[in-house]
């Protein structure tokens, strides 16, 4: 039985090894780790308050005390970035998670029941597709009031058709395989089969989709905050910082907008690249 043993070793290597190898992937991972660390520890390592500043200290340049300088209200920019990282990332994570939950549930229900249920869900998703996500979010804000919770839910609903479509196509292929039919024949419930067989086989697509959604969510959330529909001042948020930095920008102090904007761009790019690697590895694994 040496052949299966050998195969198993190869399979394990394929599964674990070379997930995110390559220098670019490592840089991306490093950046994300830094952001995560800031989000968790940020407020603890700076002595300043994120929302209260001293107007006397406005527009200070970078120094040993204020690592990145201060904004027009005299608040420490590093502190605001660190605290902002927390709200920005949590909100984006919430969008990504909620998207998978809504999209995944719709997709799996559609696949399991098929026929008319599938038709109805697919049509509903097409209907959602026809709305631009930001418009949907702005509409929701108009109805339910501004705030990060409204923005998160509205974006998640807007994103879910994309995720649902991908998961549906993969799960559908799996649904028609003989082993699922065989389990169905035993009278094992659809819920059990879905969790035991369908879900693990679409896990990869869910992860890839979520990481890409996370990036989009950050951009859209930042845009909403920028427009004043998301996080409300004086709370710290990257998108809000880009927006509130506008006045300083005109006054000749571009730090706030530049730092916040750079953080958004780098984080989205890193996530996008890693998500693509994840998807690419999946494709290579299939071949």
């Amino acid at each position: 039985m040496s052949a299966p043993a050998l195969n198993r070793r190869n399979a394990r290597r394929r599964r674990s090894g070379g997930a995110f190898s390559g220098p670019l992937a490592r840089i991306c991972l490093g950046w994300l780790a830094l952001v995560a660390l800031l989000a968790v520890l940020g407020p603890m390592i700076t002595p300043f308050d994120a929302t209260e500043g001293n107007i006397v200290d406005r527009y200070l340049p970078a120094s040993a005390e204020h690592w990145l300088g201060t904004d027009q209200a005299g608040r420490d920019l590093f502190t605001r970035l660190a605290v902002g990282a927390r709200s920005t990332i949590l909100a984006a994570l919430a969008v990504a998670g909620l998207t998978v939950l809504i999209g995944g549930t719709l997709a799996l229900v559609a696949v399991w029941f098929g026929g008319r249920v599938d038709g109805a869900i697919t049509r509903f998703l097409d209907f959602l597709f026809s709305f631009p996500n930001l418009l949907l979010a702005v509409l929701a804000v108009a109805v339910f009031g501004a705030g990060v919770e409204t923005a998160v839910v509205a974006l998640a609903i807007g994103f879910s058709p994309y995720t649902a479509r991908v998961i549906r196509s993969v799960a559908l292929r799996e649904r028609n395989l003989a082993y699922v039919k065989s389990a169905e024949l035993q009278g094992i419930s659809g819920l059990v089969i879905t969790f035991r067989h369908l879900l693990p086989n679409v896990k990869q697509q869910i992860l890839t989709g979520a990481s890409i959604n996370f990036g989009y969510a950050m951009i859209d959330l930042a845009a909403l905050s920028f427009l004043g529909f998301g996080v409300q001042p004086p709370d710290a948020d990257w998108g809000l910082m880009v927006s509130s930095g506008q006045a300083s920008l005109l006054a000749g102090y571009p730090q706030e907008s530049i730092f916040a904007g750079t953080c958004i761009v780098l984080t989205v790019a890193a996530l996008g690249y890693l998500g693509e690697q994840l998807g690419g590895r999946r494709a290579a694994g299939r071949a």
């Binding site: 052949a3 299966p4 395989l177 003989a178 065989s182 024949l185 094992i188």
Partner: protein, 278 residues
């Protein structure tokens, strides 16, 4: 085959089923199964032969409950089971009848060790605890000619024949009286096919199993079947003992099928129906 002294474990009568495809203008109905009746005495094998679109697979799917019939009756092990294909009905039916599918690749979840295919069934049908399920799984593996080491393997690590053995072990796990084999050896190499056919034959004799063997290969039908039923376009065109049907076919379609099967000394011929002069 006299019916008086043998128990008919499967008795199907006047089965009908239509499918509708497409919507709107392109909507069409297809008579997939038309007035199909047959019965199988316990411990014997009925081979259903026909080409694609003959309805043989639909009959098999209706028998196990993956598809419901429009009308007609199915009596399994003395119980009428025809109506519907709900979960409760399938669960009940799966203790009497199990199925082995054609594609060894799709028969197993590639993300789980192959033993889970068997233990899953044991969990659904028995009160055994995890250790006892494992024990039972290994004994089923032994019955189908697999080694205990195979239990921990993933489907990718097994050959097509070995995967089909696992699928057979899974079918045996619920201790059914009837097994439906839907082109179960068609995707296998001929030497492996011979081994699986030998295995099926051994199991049938040991466990008094009854087979419904769906195949397009008449030579395979000749090897396994006691009785043969030939289907064309949803209808049964001929049925009888294997010797009757395959040695002295009465229906022209059966004769055509037999003429088309490659065998030593066979000369491929163009059908007259193509009606072309070259």
């Amino acid at each position: 085959m006299s019916t008086s002294d043998t128990e008919q474990i499967v008795a199907v009568s006047n089965l009908f089923r239509t499918f509708t495809t497409g919507t709107g203008k392109s909507r069409r109905t297809v008579q997939a199964v038309q007035d199909v009746s047959f019965s199988i005495p316990r411990g014997t094998c009925l081979a259903v032969v026909g080409e694609s679109g003959s309805g043989k697979t639909t009959v098999a799917r209706m028998l196990v409950g993956l598809e419901s019939a429009d009308s007609g009756s199915i009596v399994l092990n003395g119980r009428e089971v025809s109506a519907g294909s709900s979960r409760r009905i399938r669960r009940q039916r799966s203790k009497d009848i199990q199925m082995v599918f054609q594609d060894p690749q799709g028969s197993l979840n590639r993300r789980l060790p192959v033993s889970s295919a068997v233990t899953e069934i044991l969990q659904a049908h028995t009160d055994l605890d995890a250790a006892a399920r494992r024990e039972k799984c290994l004994s089923l593996f032994a019955e189908v000619g697999l080694e205990p080491e195979h239990a921990a393997c993933y489907p990718d690590q097994l050959s097509g024949g070995q995967k089909q053995r696992v699928a057979i072990a899974r079918a045996l796990a619920a201790a059914p009286a009837v097994i439906v084999l839907d082109e179960a050896v068609s995707a296998l190499d001929v030497t492996v096919q011979a081994q699986i056919l030998a295995l099926l034959e051994r199991l049938r004799l040991e466990k008094q199993l009854t087979y419904l063997f769906i195949t397009h290969d008449l030579a395979v039908a000749r090897q396994v079947a006691d009785t043969v039923m030939v289907m064309q376009l949803g209808s049964v065109v001929e049925q009888g003992t294997a010797a009757e049907v395959l040695d002295s076919p009465k229906h022209p379609y059966t004769r055509q099928l037999l003429d088309s099967a490659p065998r030593p000394g066979w000369v491929p011929r163009r059908r007259d129906t193509t009606g072309v002069t070259s």
